[in-house]
Point group: C2
Chain length 367, copies 2
């Protein structure tokens, strides 16, 4: 493990643009934010980014590695994001492709509190079999309607029944009403079936309201929540983990604009590294072949960042969704392995009886 935070960039240089100027510009822009001649020598050495590698990879494409002192992060995920891409998001041709994490930052941020093994324990799904997840929708439904759906999904054996990420605190199903109704419904189904289904309410909210939503979820008996980190902050994951003991499923809402080929952050960095390091136990991403545009290679890269060795952090569960269907689910589990959560929404609804649809899904997955 490096002592520094080593960040890999793929630079796309316009005609006449110097790759070295561009790389050195990043190292200054993201740290001291002054021309080098205005920066005291000791600060330039210790706090500006240090260009460690610059190599041409293809016509107009260069790889750069810049090392940053972990102290620049100041122990905060907000500042980590700023250091990675704050000001340079406003420039062009800079793709942050990978991070080599120093152990000190991994230890500090802590990663998943529950992880794949913990989710298996919560849902009573033994190792070697995939987990299943679905979403309660559509927005506009009343709390009792959503609770009835939750009951029927749970009877069918879906392991994690989450709110759709667009269901927040709308007047048709306010958070508090929905929480009570859906949690009671899932508990009732578990009592009847002997199953271990879990309801994960969407707790995404403002900093002022987030703590009360998380406390309410815990107090209602929920063991986990859904959070959209790009809406309510990466730190919301750690808050749920540390202060409320909740597992967290992270949703990628609003992240898509970073995933451009020549500028941004790679999907595996955001939905893999960052979500896991910040505390996600499961990370939802749009599976290839669905209604979004990730390649299979990207999906596998996300899986690798969520489950591969990372300084002793627990493994997080890849949760491919977005247009998956029951028939293709076994195919994806063969590809991605059993330590995966199959997220299927619409394809269960179109079958009419969601309990039967859920049972079909479990059967298809050998459960």
């Amino acid at each position: 493990m490096p002592e520094s935070l080593r960040v890999h960039y793929r630079l796309h240089c316009a005609r006449g643009e110097s790759a070295e100027d561009k790389a050195v510009g990043i190292a200054l822009e993201q740290t001291v934010e002054l021309p080098a001649r205005c920066v005291p020598a000791n600060i330039l050495t210790n706090f500006s980014g240090q260009l460690e590698l610059l190599e041409q990879r293809a016509d107009s494409i260069w790889e750069a590695v810049i090392a940053y002192a972990p102290d620049l992060v100041g122990g905060e995920l907000t500042q980590l994001l700023n250091l990675l891409f704050g000001n340079i998001s406003l420039k062009n041709g800079i793709l942050v492709s990978a991070i080599e994490w120093p152990q000190s930052l991994l230890d500090h941020f802590g990663g998943p509190g529950t992880g794949i093994d913990g989710l298996r324990a919560l849902t009573q799904v033994p190792a070697g079999l995939p987990l299943t997840c679905t979403a309660l929708k559509p927005v506009g439904s009343r709390a009792e309607t959503l609770a009835d759906l939750a009951y029927r999904f749970a009877l069918g054996g879906v392991d994690i029944i989450k709110d759709d990420h667009g269901i927040a605190d709308q007047p048709t199903a306010p958070f508090t009403d929905r929480l009570a109704a859906c949690q009671a419904a899932v508990e009732r189904a578990n009592q009847q079936s002997g199953g271990g289904s879990q309801y994960f309410p969407n707790a995404t909210a403002s900093p002022a309201k987030l703590p009360e939503r998380l406390a309410a979820a815990r107090d209602a008996g929920c063991r986990g929540v859904l959070l959209s980190p790009w809406l309510c902050g990466l730190d919301s994951l750690a808050l749920a983990r540390d202060h409320y003991g909740l597992a967290v499923m992270a949703h990628p809402a609003l992240t898509g604009s970073y995933f451009m080929p020549h500028h941004g952050l790679t999907p595996e960095l955001v939905l893999g590294d960052l979500f896991r390091v910040a505390g996600a136990d499961a990370s939802i991403y749009p599976n290839t072949g669905g209604r979004f545009g990730f390649s299979q290679e990207t999906c596998e890269a996300i899986n690798a960042r969520l489950r591969g060795p990372l300084g002793g952090l627990k493994r997080a569960a890849p949760t491919p969704g977005g247009g998956m269907d029951v028939k293709r689910a076994p195919h994806w589990i063969r590809n991605y392995g059993p330590d995966t959560i199959v997220l299927i929404g619409g394809s269960l609804y179109v079958q009419g009886d969601v309990t039967d649809a859920a049972r079909d899904l479990l059967q298809a997955l050998g459960r």
Copy 2:
């Protein structure tokens, strides 16, 4: 004012892609997130987006307008962002170009608490003259060093002296130490000069720490703070306004990836509409001709969204920065008008004595 939230999209359709399918797909994806045939009729009518206009504008370019029920927002900025661009951020060729706001949402979110006139009152700058701002840096400097800089900038007459947005809670200058030292320094300078300089500390932090940073800033006597909404949430602006009575200068860190020509959110929508509606009194953006890439047209569009009529909300101050220099500042004020904050960092530092540099700036601006 419309009763609905009317969102304008510029759709870039690939060969063979139907603009109508794409537009209807957005209306469903961002709301009910199910195929229309699975959605009860009353919900489809009242809660899915309603396509109101679809017109071809150029080869492969279409304009669409979709109306959403304000209830979908549920009164929360997190869900507003999700409704605008949550899932479709992961698709292609969708640019959210403008919003027509219903009065109900403007009234609910409230906009700037202080506004341009309030910032003038705080800093004692009469109408008709521009305000000035600079940043304390570089990161890695000790609190006393930053405080000494703050003192000297204030003596020179800079109106708003903010932390650089990358200065957070690093061990070299922890937030609490820096806050006390810099605020005392600016107060001391004001006593000597009779001026009204204000120190705006960077309070950007996790949901768990944000309230204590804002409370500390208020208790130290600060009248405003710097916040990066894309790091700590749009709601952080409202929190500072409502619970702590602080003015807010918003920083665009991490927003740049949305500003792509064929996919994303326009700069005037994010740094103009959204920041203002959420409560920013001043919005920093990278001025044209500096080290970032906005066109003058984009800068003027941001200014218009910050200062134009918007359902009775206070006007927010455009704060162009990012490579501005003292010599060109009068040019920009002639272009943008006096209700503008001139943000100059590096160009003051390179002159050596920052007090003299600040005086030169004020003189150039007719102050």
